[in-house]
Subunit: 172 residues, 6 copies
């Protein structure tokens, strides 16, 4: 939900501090996109096992990608004050990052609606990462999910957003 | 899912690398617990707004806690190969960490079942963190969710686990 | 959730007043039942239309019964701090009560678990009643759902409960 | 679903009396609102415990409000013949009513769609009330949920509706 | 999802063969319909028992119809790459087919959206058929669900479709 | 649900023909398995495209397998009178059957509960098949899902079941 940039405040709270799903009916339906990412850090041997388990037809990364896509569709059921929205595109990609070592997960979500899809994109990468953890946890319980953040958003009255985060650049 | 400690491998993959929800019917029903955590890093002014929005009766942290608790109950629907389990305790706490600045989120989940609740605990902190993001995103889109990890687990044949992660100690 | 009868207090709140799904792992798995009811009051002509619409094969009451049964299975997803439970019986009945005029809805739920099924029984009658409203609202928007309450529960350490409510006796 | 005012009949039944989700594709997308309410009657001492448990940061009423908001988003999954709709506003408020004694729950829901949101508003107050019951049931099992009804609706061809119910006026 | 008729290919796969929910934001919102069907083959005595169990007010066919309608609304949660859509009509009918012997199930779904509702119509008949199986399985475990297929679709750039399947004609 | 073999009747109907989720609380918790199958018939060129799209890392069959596994966990939410059960194993396999041409889908589900998992196994193959349809429908809308049936079940008082269906033997 984009608030007016001239008086930003906590979303979803009314004057008494009570949670509500705010009224977006006066906002315009426009195309809106959001891109989010996170990384999953693990031991080199865990990463090797996933790489091996995924080849040639193993389902490891496919399972995590699908979990992320399906979770994006559950966003309004998971995040209490999110508006239920039609979604017109969900893409989740998982890239090996040997320098971490681990994986970079990236999602892109698009809608045509009165409010944005930042939470859908963030939910997609989070659940894809949790699914990677689930599939590798017998090998390593110390896997960490790191730096879940919004990379960019477009559309909506509050304007576009582009993260300026150098240290999120994908390692090696 | 704990695998045999003598031959750890990727959970949930059969001999062909195909995903499956593995058979736990031969495992014993025992009490199992898992504790997970993450942190949400934000600008000092965002943290101030949340602190203010939460007082005296504001719903910010309560909303995030409840979202985490309810998400734990959705774990088997979100993580494709997780076993559906009865859950006997879910607790989510959110602690201000001015030195981050931001918040530390911690969950504790308990069951009596054939398999563990690590994913439920990790899902709870992840969704609680996403909910914090949702409520503060009008103020700051650069909020990051960091260091989602398992702190400990007990119960099950694979033995207990205790994270040995110094740098996760709660700041401030 | 039954609390210790010697110090009853609000369920689901910890010492700080924060919501949690309380630990029931130390409680015994026993058979537990709950019976709930409500009534739906409407104009005589609305009741006639339902009676007619339901005969001979109309789906009005069947739809409401099924909605109640299916909602009972969603209780832990609807009521934030309810424990997810296996359910071993759900029965919903709807009885015409011409003296209201309207219908009496009654549910009976059974489990074998560490905690009770009061909320499942109450959710069943509530959603069955809402479904009746939905099917008749083109005829009358002033339909009221009244007196949702627990009639009885059995099982559990807190003992059995029997409502002593004379004026809930079924009219007509 | 608004039916033609000149021939009102049971919604959702076809000519054979079979349930169906009726065709609304020829209806116009307009802004539609609905306001519903109910009350939760309890013993004075139960009301005191909730008031105490809710102060200063207790989660009792926040939990019930959120449960109501989230349930409104589940309406089409709970009420078999409801159309799935985008929702653009959901607000649930809970007001102490010492004269009951108990609480008045009120919801307001808004959409821009081909059909109305009466069921979403009614579902929100019902589940908020059930959640209050859940949180106080260790103290009192005789809590009653009463007078669930629609206060008003706007938008749609069937015209606006305003309940004319004097005795629903909020006590004391 | 209709693909360009000049280069048909697998839906939902990107250039690397990875699953994604494809971008439909550039497609036009138009009214789209889909009609699907299947048949449920059983022993004559099973069919008799259903006929008897359904009369005069038995809920067998009503339960299966409702299950199909409700499942259509879950399509985007069941089929990983389906777009979540508003639905404007869902109708499920079940017709006795003594010559099978068994039942013919037929669904019709309508939306106004950027993509079609074939999967919603197919999901509706499938789950209605599974529900018939569930209600009769104590009598006969060899019941078969057969010939689930799309009968027709309209709307969308890929054009209309009409099945040319003679042997699906309804027996007797 | 297994009924007493000496008086088989429609499951889930009470004496009035009303649907209910029958009481299984007196039944013994034992290990129960069910195996189901179906086949998906398509044009040879559609089958070739899937084979190609699936290699070397394409997600077609992985997506369908996962959809089947996740759907098995939704069975009690889809089939109105099914008991919610813990599930201890879900396996879905998809085998090319060039002689069809098409694919054979097979599921195996296991629980330890008071009632069986036939519906979970049947739901898994049905939704896996629907997902295959979804991924190939841009190529061919005449794909058919055929012969959904139970191959075997074990456990429970009603005894084991083994399908005696010669013509279901896997072609080619």
């Amino acid at each position: 939900m984009e608030n007016c940039p001239t008086s930003p405040s906590l979303s979803h709270l009314d004057a008494k501090g009570h949670a509500q799903m705010v009224d977006v009916s006066a906002k315009e339906q426009t195309v809106r996109t959001a891109i989010a990412r996170c990384q999953v850090r693990m031991l080199p041997e865990t990463m090797s096992a996933i790489a091996k388990g995924n080849a040639p037809k193993g389902d490891v990364l496919a399972t995590a990608r699908l979990a992320g896509i399906m979770a994006a569709k559950q966003t309004a059921n998971l995040i209490p004050l999110c508006h239920p929205l039609p979604l017109q595109k969900i893409d989740v990609s998982i890239t090996p990052a040997p320098a971490l070592p681990g994986y970079i997960i990236r999602s892109e979500v698009k809608t045509r609606a009165e409010t944005g899809v930042e939470m859908e994109a963030l939910t997609a990468v989070s659940v894809a990462a949790l699914t990677l953890y689930d599939m590798a946890k017998a090998l390593e319980k110390s896997i960490q999910i790191e730096q879940i953040c919004l990379l960019s958003k477009t559309g909506g009255k509050s304007g576009d957003y582009q993260a300026a985060i150098v240290d999120l650049e994908e390692p090696g």
